[in-house]
């Protein structure tokens, strides 16, 4: 069951970073493959790949090291001189996270915002999309095919096409609701997450429907038919059979969407209002590069905080992540 778009060469394991490991674990390594292998990986190739790997790592590594260096040392010496100019500190992190002085970035509330936005903006499209995907896959009606092609094409539509009118709709429809909510529950600020949740839901739906449809449509027809014969309704089939069976596809999309929303800047800039009530970490970081562009002790620590969550997800759930990413790489 493939969860990748039709044109991508990703079958069951191909496309997963673990492909080779899987092949070796199953004991299936042809002898002739081994012989060919020797010729392909010559010494030059090893050195070349090593150089590329180092080049790709150095920028992140430099940022990481610098985030632990005292401000004075960052300002005056390069991070690669860490051994001749030793000195490590956690002060930068303390400053960007815990300090309440108005000159510090106060990232705490932005982290909460990023989590709140990404969490809900992953769950809502997931549920609506799996319902739609089920309908597309298992309810036969005229016009459903055309609708599905439209949804597929919308995946690639640049968000720029939707931003201006959507903002106008939000300010006429959502703004009064937000104001009313603030009046009823004063603890919820007038600027709340609603616009971002809805915007990310809308922008995530086409990809989610497509991805889940690919998976749900491959559930054996016998299973669905048997349930129908037993008198199960569509609602029951969806909740009891389709959803549990689709967990791998759901996980792939959930991880992709969570990281997409977490890393997003464009949607946040337009719909968040930019205050610490709503703005996510990326928006704060982008703002800091403008206003505090020379304060590298703050920028390095703040940047590292903003990328650590996606990196943890990446390293712990690599297989799902790769699947979702390969399928969703044209989103936006």
């Amino acid at each position: 069951m493939s969860v990748a778009p039709p044109d991508l060469p990703v079958g069951k394991n191909r496309g997963s970073l673990d492909a080779t490991v899987d092949a070796q674990a199953s004991g299936y390594v042809e002898p002739k493959t081994m012989r060919v292998k020797k010729r392909l990986t010559s010494r030059t190739a090893t050195i070349a790949s090593l150089i590329i790997a180092v080049l790709w790592t150095i920028p992140t590594f430099g940022l990481f090291i610098s985030s632990f260096r005292p401000a004075e040392l960052i300002r005056t010496t390069g991070w690669w001189t860490i051994f001749s100019n030793p000195g490590l500190t956690l002060e930068n992190y303390q400053d960007v996270l815990l300090s309440t002085s108005s000159s510090s970035p106060q990232l705490g509330s932005y982290i909460v915002n990023s989590i709140a936005i990404a969490l809900v903006a992953t769950i809502i499209p997931l549920v609506f999309a799996s319902m739609a995907a089920y309908a597309f896959a298992w309810m036969r009606f005229r016009g459903v095919g055309v609708l599905f092609v439209i949804v597929f094409a919308l995946q690639i539509l640049p968000l720029q096409m939707a931003l201006v009118p959507l903002l106008q709709i939000f300010s006429t429809v959502l703004r009064p609701m937000q104001a009313w909510l603030h009046d009823v529950v004063p603890i919820i600020p007038e600027q709340n997450y609603l616009p971002l949740w809805i915007a990310h839901t809308i922008f995530g739906l086409p990809l989610a429907i497509f991805l889940l449809h690919n998976f749900i449509s491959e559930i054996p027809a016998d299973v669905i038919e048997a349930a129908r014969v037993d008198g199960a309704t569509h609602g029951q089939i969806f909740l009891r059979i389709v959803l549990p069976l689709s967990v791998p596809a759901i996980a792939s999309f959930a991880i992709f969407q969570f990281i997409w929303v977490w890393n997003d800047l464009l949607v946040a800039l337009i719909f968040s209002g930019g205050t610490q009530d709503v703005a996510p970490l990326t928006q704060r970081l982008a703002e800091l590069t403008g206003t505090r562009g020379q304060d590298w002790q703050l920028l390095t620590a703040a940047a590292f905080i903003s990328i650590i969550i996606p990196l943890i997800v990446f390293f712990s759930l690599q297989r799902y992540f790769v699947r979702g990413l390969l399928a969703g790489s044209t989103k936006g």
Partner: protein, 322 residues
């Protein structure tokens, strides 16, 4: 952030999810209780409606509206001025040229490096670690990547020690430090480097999977014919992964056309570095030039359209087979 703020935020999330769960629960309840007459129809509507309404209101209607806005003046009269501006004003032309440069360089280099790397590490020891290293930047946000690279390009004036790696290397070889991000046209190239850095991992993973799909006996046959490594690469590997190469190139092209965050964060489009996606934001949301912003969005769509059509054709062929 005060405790009240935090409580407000948690309350929002809990309320949001509760309201959402109630809506979905009611929906599914009513789907199952739909009237006998036309039951199938009501059930279909129930399942499709939430997604279709959201997509229609949030994507299809706005896209049509943007298309109309791009042909209107701020008072609503028909005009072609917005497009005329985009194709005649020097700054706007520069934006278009930059976008073309981006879309030529990023897919080419990301794919070339990704392919070379995939071939080099294929079936080597530690392949998995090698892959993770190159693939990692893709998990990092463009904003994070921008900060990482801005630090590499950092400039210090006078005799002060350089803290940016690039200038440090230049100085070590006896050169003068350069204000990289302010110097046209090298600044655009350096922004492109960031995008290549991010996208190469994607190319590598897809192409590596494709290379593993090439039958081993093909490679062995070529080897028995006495070919060298390069000949095997051009005559066996490249033809064997042609389909994946097209996918990688088109996918990275789309991602590159839409690139916004890198330009926004590193230069904000100043110093002649703007691209269409960034200029659209600047015009529509900073300069309140809705018409011009919409025209730029249209230009973006026209650039992406051939790829969309190609993909839709592939999809339809697949569905016919099924």
């Amino acid at each position: 952030m005060t405790t009240a703020d935090l409580l407000g935020k948690i309350l929002q999330v809990v309320m949001g999810l509760a309201v959402f769960a109630a809506i979905v629960g009611l929906l599914i309840f009513f789907i199952d209780k739909a009237p006998k007459r036309g039951r199938d129809y009501w059930q279909l509507v129930g399942f499709l409606a939430p997604a279709l309404i959201l997509v229609s209101v949030g994507l299809i209607y706005p896209a049509i509206r943007t298309a109309i806005l791009s042909f209107q003046t701020s008072s609503g009269d028909f005009t072609l001025d917005n497009f005329a501006w985009a194709f005649t004003q020097p700054a706007a032309i520069r934006t278009l040229i930059n976008t073309v440069v981006w879309v030529l360089l990023v897919p080419t280099f990301a794919t070339a490096v990704g392919l070379a790397y995939a071939v080099f590490i294929d079936r080597s020891r530690g392949e998995r670690i090698y892959k993770s290293i190159l693939f990692m930047p893709i998990a990092i946000s463009f904003v994070g990547a921008s900060v990482i690279w801005k630090f590499v390009y950092e400039y210090r004036s006078g005799d002060r020690e350089q803290i940016g790696l690039l200038n440090a290397i230049v100085v070590a070889f006896g050169g003068e430090p350069v204000q990289w991000l302010q110097t046209d046209p090298i600044n655009t190239i350096l922004l492109i480097v960031v995008m290549i850095w991010v996208q190469t991992g994607f190319a590598m993973v897809v192409l590596s999977a494709a290379i593993k799909g090439i039958p081993a006996d093909q490679l062995e046959a070529a080897q028995l014919d006495g070919t060298n490594g390069w000949q095997r690469f051009t005559n066996v590997i490249v033809p064997g992964i042609r389909g994946s190469l097209v996918v990688v190139l088109t996918t990275i092209s789309i991602a590159t056309l839409k690139v916004f965050d890198i330009v926004r964060t590193m230069t904000a489009g100043n110093f002649n570095t703007s691209v269409v996606a960034n200029e659209m934001y600047t015009q529509a949301f900073r300069a309140s030039e809705i018409g011009r912003g919409s025209a730029l969005a249209m230009i973006l769509v026209v650039m992406v359209l051939p790829i969309v059509i190609y993909n839709v054709n592939v999809l339809r062929k697949q569905r016919e087979i099924r």
